[in-house]
Each structure stands twice: as C-alpha cells, then as structure tokens.
Symmetry: C2
Subunit: 338 residues, 2 copies
C-alpha cells in the first residue's frame, strides 16, 4: 500500500489530481454517495469503523481512474459510478487488512482502525466492504468487469503474502520487489483504469492502454512512496519518515543500498533489517547510507521511467482535458518528491 494513503495531501495550489476530480465532479459525487450508502449497516460498528477510514481524506485516486477512463471512452451509463465505488471499497478493505498485517498505528495521519477497534473488527469490516464491492459490480451488469476486479483482488492478496515472506531478509532481489509492487499496488490501479474502459465498450487497444497507464502509474507511485520514506523532503511535509525502516521492509532504496554496501555497511544492514535490532539513531545512519549510495536517486529515476511509460500509454486517447490531467498526474506523482 502507499503511505500516500496514510496522510491527507497538504499541497498548495491545485494539483492535477484535483483537476481531474473537477472534470468528473458529478460522477465522483455520485460514487461518493454510493460509497456512503454501501457502508451502511444495522450493525453500527461497521459504518463507524468504515467511516474512520473512508472519510479520512484519501484522494480517491483509484476510483478517479475508473471514472476518467470511462469518460475518456465516451461511456454514457451509470455503471462507472458503481464500479468506482467498488474500487474504493476494495482499496479500503485491503487497507484495513493491511493495517492488521502490518500492525500499523497510523493511517492517513489518524490512529489506524485496528488500534481503535482492535484487529478483529478490522478483519471483518474489510470482508464486509469487499463483499459490498462485488455487490456493486453485480449492479453494473458487466461480467468482464467482475472478472477484472476479482482477478486483481487475488493478485493483491498474493502480493501481500509475497511481501510477508520476504520481510527481514537482505536476500530480497529487485526482481522480487518489483513483483510485489506490481501485485500489491499496481494491480488495482491497472484494474481500476481498465474497468472504466471496458464499461465504455472501447477497443482492445484502448482498454490495454488504460490498463498500461494504471499499471505504470501504480508502480511509479509505489516507488516514489518507498523513496520518500527515507527522504528529508517527506519530513518537511509533516509526514513520518522511516516507517518502512522500522518494519524492516525490503523496499528498493534498501535493496540498492545493500547491493552497494561495503563490509561495514552490510553488517549494519544485517543488524537493523535481519535481526530488527535498531534505534532512532540507526534510522539516521540508514538515511545517510541510502543517500550516499545514490539509492534514492536511482529509485526516483526508475519511478520517472514508469511515469513516462504511463504518459506514453495515453497516446491512444484524443487530446482532451482528461488526457492532459492524467498525463500531469503521472508527472505529479514523481514531482511531489522534489
């Protein structure tokens, strides 16, 4: 998951995400209505817990991709609004389960639901929202869309299990890391964008392009997120730094630093990652190692390449405000780090 989801954005001026939001404003409003309707239940704890996360200032980036892809594809019905709400529910369900798995304390700058209510309701309310997502998709009447999103959900769970299996191991390769990122983050971005295009009954090329846009954007987002966790810039934005370090997560900045480590640095990484024996002073040393080895710059360079691939995938769209906003979002995703 993206740490970006853990803190409401505090950017000055209007971001391209907000621009795209404005371009699909009535649809997003309708999706939001469905989201609030869908999380209702006579069992009070369910909306209480769901609202804690859903109303916590997330950017609704994934449903935005669904609405934008449908609109760019000339879709006229109301299925895209249901699909957008479903995408947000799947995202929220994975966040709830992710926080239980990560034993997180914060999510979007608030105390996480698992700490407020305990792990048990977080697991069950995640299941509830996941079920609701499928109910909303059934209402679109489109089986292809159900196939895409259920496939993405399976891939997300696979990615999370993969990540679990590779925690605290310096042996994690770049290839393994990229597989995890593709699965746990990019799969839902890809499915969200693809689903909108499928609803619009667009050409195979159009659908594949929207999928490629979502997938590359998702990867770029996660890479930037992982870089920011070791960046002073993040601290300036009032976000916490070092969460991945404390959880001993093998993200790209660490993988690159380990590959470039001398003997002393390697011993340091072994201690802090493999044994988990670490202090706040170690975080500062980790940041300096990550910087010295150029690992942040390299992570950002790769993020830029994925953002460019996302932009290139938009070539199939006729020029429009939506295309321009989607393209700028890819740039923004990288530039927010500078």
């Amino acid at each position: 998951m993206l740490k970006e989801d853990k803190a409401a954005s505090g950017q000055a001026g209007i971001s391209p995400v907000e621009r795209l939001n404005a371009l699909v404003a009535p649809d997003m409003k309708a999706a939001d209505k469905l989201i609030h309707k869908g999380m209702a239940s006579s069992v009070d704890l369910i909306p209480d817990l769901a609202r804690h996360l859903i109303d916590s200032g997330g950017k609704r980036l994934r449903p935005l991709l669904t609405l934008a892809a449908a609109k760019a594809g000339g879709y006229q019905g109301d299925g895209h609004v249901r699909l957008a709400a479903a995408v947000e529910f799947i995202h929220t369900a994975t966040l709830l389960h992710d926080d239980v798995v990560d034993e997180s304390a914060l999510r979007r700058g608030k105390v996480s639901a698992n700490l407020v209510w305990g792990n048990k309701p977080s697991v069950l309310v995640g299941d509830y929202l996941f079920s609701r997502a499928f109910q909303l998709m059934v209402e679109t009447g489109n089986l292809a869309v159900l196939g895409i999103l259920s496939g993405a959900s399976a891939v997300i769970a696979e990615g999370e299990v993969m990540q679990l299996g590779s925690a605290r191991s310096l042996a994690v390769t770049e290839d393994h890391y990229m597989k995890v990122v593709s699965a746990k983050t990019a799969a839902l971005f890809a499915a969200a964008a693809e689903g909108g295009a499928v609803l619009a009954a667009q050409s195979t090329d159009f659908i594949a392009s929207m999928r490629a846009y979502g997938e590359n954007l998702g990867i770029a987002f996660q890479l930037v997120d992982d870089a920011l966790d070791y960046s002073g810039r993040q601290a300036l934005m009032g976000k916490s730094v070092g969460d991945d370090f404390r959880e001993a997560k093998m993200t790209l900045p660490i993988i690159l630093s380990v590959a470039r480590a001398d003997e002393t640095a390697r011993a340091f990484w072994q201690r802090v990652i493999e044994t988990g024996n670490q202090t706040e002073a170690d975080l500062h040393h980790a940041i300096s190692l990550v910087e010295q080895t150029g690992s942040i710059q390299e992570t950002m360079r790769r993020a830029r390449a994925y953002a460019d691939a996302a932009k290139n995938a938009l070539a199939i769209l006729p020029a429009s405000e939506i295309r321009s906003a989607l393209s700028d979002i890819a740039d923004f995703c990288v530039e927010r780090a500078y």
Copy 2:
C-alpha cells in the same frame, strides 16, 4: 461457524451426507479438482496454508447443497461445479478469518492455520480464496448467482461483527442470537442451495424452496452445534466440549440458562461470562446448570423445528433419491446429537 467443521466426522455406517455425496459423485469430484486448482499460486505459502484447511476432512456440506439443488433442478451445464467450488472457497475464507477473530487453536481436529502460520497469512490467504471464489463465479457467466453469493458474504461478515459486539454480555437476547445464527451460518447454506437452483433456471417457487431448505438446515445445524458444546455425548465422540464456554460465547443454551437462573446461578454466569474469570471446574458446573434448566433439550427442540421446516421446504421437489437424502440430512443434523 460450526464446530462440526472443526472435527472430521467419525460416524459408523453411511450417513445421509455420504449418500448425497455419492449421488453427485462425479460433480463433487470435478468441484474438488477446481478447488485444488483454484488454491494454486506461485506464492507457496498460499496453497500450503489453504490445503491445511481444505484437505482436513471437512464434509463439503455447502457445495453439496449447490450440486444437489442444481441436479434436482435438472441443470445440464458445468456452472454448478464452479459455483460449488466458489461456495467452498467462501466458507474456507470465513473459517480462516474466523479463527483469527476467535483466536482459535483447533479447527477440524488440527492445529488451526493461524497458530501454525500466524494471523497475517491467515487474513491474506482468506482474501485470496475469497477473490478466487468470485473468479469462479464469473466463469459461470451468471450474474444472479454472483449477486446471491456477494450478498451472503456481506451478511456473514455482518453476523460475525454482531457476534463480536455481543460477546461476554448476559444481556444478549434470544432474538439477537437468532439474528447472528441466521447471518453467520445460515446465510451461506441458503445461498449455496439457492445458487444451484438459480443456475438450473428453476421457477421462483423452486428457488425460494431450496433457499428455505438451506436456511433452515443451517440454523438447525448451528443450534445443534451450540447444544453439543455443553453435551457429554460430544465428549464421547472424541470432540472437545466447552469451547464456547471458554470463549464466553452467548449461545442459546447459556441464554436460556441465564433466563431460568436463580440468584446464585446468575452470579455464577456473571462471573464466568462477563468477567471471564473461570476454571475447568466451572465448565462442569455450567454443564450441570444448562442440563438442570432443560436448556439443552429446549435448544434441541428448536433445532428439530428448523430441521422439520427444512424438510417441509423440499415438498416442491418430485420424489427422488436426492430429495430423500436432503430430507434425511435434516434429520441427521438433529439426530447426531443423541
């Protein structure tokens, strides 16, 4: 969930469940193949953990209802096999999450997955199987079935949250208990049977009857399960007794005993349920109170009424070996307790 799922059946002779299994043997074999194919993943931990539960001798009762309803309805395609596998995946996913929520140590007589692998993979593999269930249902090409099962999944999660909210409280009413049972157990029995009838494109009456059969059977099963947890008969069958007591679950035998308690007994229930302060000697005292107040007999009397309602719902089916086996399963569900 049913404790029945926690222990493989050790009945002598051929039970009506086995008879029904034999009547749909080729379909069940095909469903089993899909179940094993569907839990495959390049991430080894997923099939390892899933197999622990799926190959642990569960009776496959829910998918059996799907196959039986489809066959009784004259269904000719292969969608019922996919739906049966999906139903078993949903059931398995809820068991995995349920064990995390209950902090269970045993499931079907084996150490539960959460104790072997930890809670984290149990949550994520549950999500994986749940996603796979929806992928299988997409393959049936039947949106109505997807609607029924996604609705049931939402209701199951609601029931589990309800149960969570009412643990350790003597104020839990019979009405609340029945709502929990309908949601957490009967909803999937009902959807499993209904789904098979829907695939067979049967009449509204036929579909409603199969749903009613599943729902009433599910309630009867849970009531018997809850009665057996305080029964010496259960101990004779080599199953553990008192699991609900130790978890301070407000099941019907306790609710009835509390309603019929004198002042001393009420103080006892307050201590062991509300404060959770209890010993093994307390379990014996609880069993004697439950027996003295006739609460087991009353729970079984109600289970019998639901089993009869399940049998009555079968009237719409023409006489057949399947109808006879379904009817006998309803009897068996109650009689296994004597």
